[in-house]
């Protein structure tokens, strides 16, 4: 399988002193969904920002290692160049432009696409995947519901015709029903538009259910990676990310107090 994205042993430093990523590597294969799991502050979002180049505007810097997109180094490039190459980051927290209408938001996603005819076509595609946005097209994006905003930022991303989507916590703050709906659409987009996806999620069960390969991240580096089937069998992942204990055993607070499973990987 051809790899779309390759992150080789990168080190990221914020404000010249804070070392956030300490030798992070990962790979996304063509047409696949890959997920990064990890607790708060592990460096998942930083990894995405390093790939999309947005890191640079936050006084962060890739100081070591390399990031390659279809074999071409992109870690020195600016975000606007990286978007043009086909990587699009959908940032955490449904970042719609609140004082613009839904349709204007979608159009803004086509900034790198200057051909009006293609823009129109792409807009149809967006409305095809997110029909809910059609009736809201003239409404200010700040006033639509959280689920619709999430659909809007995903739709906006499609307008740039990305080859690789970086999705940061698309399930955050949404009702389970909406989460299911949105993830179904994400999978559809992945299959039908041949867009590879790098997904960062707090909801590990959900992420593992849609992805093909998973990485577990802790303290700025990858501690474990495997296909999702194997990850789901891993005792540590079960204990710390899926909240399961050995089958058949009831989890009791007493046990938790006396015996705490320690992670078997080295951090």
């Amino acid at each position: 399988m051809a790899s779309v994205l390759q992150v080789n042993n990168i080190e990221v430093v914020y404000k010249d002193v804070i070392l956030v990523l300490k030798g992070m590597s990962l790979e996304v294969e063509e047409g696949k969904i890959v997920t990064i799991l990890g607790n708060n502050g592990a460096g998942k979002t930083t990894t995405l920002k390093a790939i999309s180049g947005i890191l640079k505007s936050e006084d962060g810097e890739v100081t070591d290692g390399s990031i390659e997109f279809y074999g071409e180094r992109i870690d020195e490039k600016y975000p606007e160049e990286i978007v043009r190459k086909g990587i699009f980051q959908v940032m955490e927290g449904r970042r719609v432009v609140e004082d613009m209408t839904v349709e204007e938001n979608i159009l803004a996603g086509a900034h790198t696409q200057r051909n009006r005819k293609k823009r129109k076509e792409d807009m149809e595609i967006v409305y095809h995947y997110f029909p809910r946005l059609i009736e809201r097209r003239k409404v200010m994006a700040g006033y639509i519901s959280g689920g619709e905003q999430q659909m809007l930022v995903l739709g906006r991303a499609l307008m740039a015709r990305p080859k690789l989507l970086l999705l940061d916590e698309p399930s955050m703050g949404l009702s389970p029903l909406l989460v299911a709906e949105i993830f179904e659409i994400i999978q559809k987009i992945n299959r039908e538009q041949n867009v590879s996806i790098l997904l960062v999620e707090q909801n590990a069960r959900l992420a593992l259910s849609v992805a093909y390969h998973g990485y577990v991240m802790e303290n700025g580096r990858i501690v474990l990676d495997d296909t999702v089937e194997k990850l789901m069998q891993n005792e540590d992942v079960k204990e710390f990310y899926l909240g399961l204990t050995e089958v058949g055993k009831k989890k009791s607070y007493r046990d938790v107090k006396h015996y705490k499973r320690r992670k078997r990987w080295l951090t």
């Binding site: 975000p79 613009m100 204007e104 159009l107 803004a108 790198t112």
Partner: protein, 298 residues
């Protein structure tokens, strides 16, 4: 009675003309503030620069007004892009207050340079419009005023369309809302900054040329830069629509104050009124009429 109404109407009309110029300059000011969060204290100097360049092109180089006008816009564009490139871009990431201080310094430097180059006495534009006032529903309007109004309104409409429909306009609005979102969409925000300065300088110099045609130009023209504060604060610092309406309101207010209160107080009210009004607005509605009130969903 009907004389009183005619007087009022006349005041409103001249206020509208003056207001249209204010609206243009305020538009330029808000543009820079919105996309870069910089308060540009050199706005008045940009206006003055435009007026002087246009005048020089017409008088010294004998270029017809219409060509001179477009050449002036080109000059303003170049000046603004240079300023942004050389002075303001290196300041990106510095505290906003330092950047504002830089614009204050910039205004002093530009004003002095203009004084060195063109001197301090008032200069008049050659007559382009006829002096014969046009009768208009029993009111008189000077031809130059009429054209100014038409012109300023056209600009305002053009910019409204630009922001609504063009890709660059939408990109500017995204950048104004959130620079990180803009970056994630592939918008080159440095180019947007340069574009904001350029457009701002262009609309200001249009304002300068209009004022020059009405009153002639001298160093006092830079005071227009201060006059935009009441306009933009009334309208809300970050609202383009607000800037335009603010401009018109302040223009009309100034004229009404001049017409009705100046005789009572013996003059001077006209110039003070906008600032008194500014203080009142700040007390009642500190974010202005159209200032950004963050949208909150319930």
């Amino acid at each position: 009675m009907s004389e009183n109404i005619a007087f009022l109407a006349q005041l409103l009309l001249t206020g509208l003309v003056l207001g249209s110029v204010y609206a243009l300059v305020a538009l330029g000011f808000v543009l820079i503030y919105k996309s870069t969060s910089i308060l540009n204290f050199a706005q008045g100097e940009l206006l003055m620069f435009g007026a002087y360049i246009c005048l020089t092109l017409i008088i010294e180089l004998r270029i017809p007004f219409i060509y001179a006008f477009f050449l002036t816009l080109a000059f303003s564009f170049i000046l603004a892009v240079l300023l942004e490139r050389v002075i303001l871009r290196p300041m990106i990431g510095e505290p906003i207050i330092s950047i504002i201080m830089v614009t204050i310094a910039l205004s002093a430097v530009l004003r002095s340079l203009i004084q060195i180059a063109w001197g301090t006495e008032t200069k008049v534009f050659p007559r382009i419009f006829s002096e014969e006032p046009i009768r208009f529903f029993g009111l008189f309007i000077a031809e130059v005023h009429l054209w100014s109004l038409i012109f300023a309104l056209t600009c305002v409409v053009l910019f409204a369309l630009f922001f609504k429909f063009s890709a660059a306009g939408i990109a500017m609005r995204v950048t104004a809302f959130d620079q990180q979102i803009a970056q994630s969409l592939g918008i080159n925000i440095k180019r947007i900054f340069a574009l904001s300065w350029a457009i701002s300088a262009i609309v200001s110099s249009i304002g300068g040329i209009i004022l020059g045609n009405i009153n002639g130009i001298n160093n006092a023209l830079a005071a227009m830069g201060l006059k935009v504060f009441p306009c933009v604060i009334l309208g809300g610092l970050d609202s383009i629509l607000g800037a335009i309406l603010g401009g018109f309101s302040i223009g009309i207010l100034e004229n009404l104050a001049g017409g009705y209160l100046d005789p009572v107080f013996g003059g001077g009210v006209k110039d003070v009124a906008p600032f008194v009004f500014l203080v009142v607005v700040l007390m009642i509605k500190p974010y202005g009429l159209f200032g950004k009130i963050r949208i909150e969903r319930l």
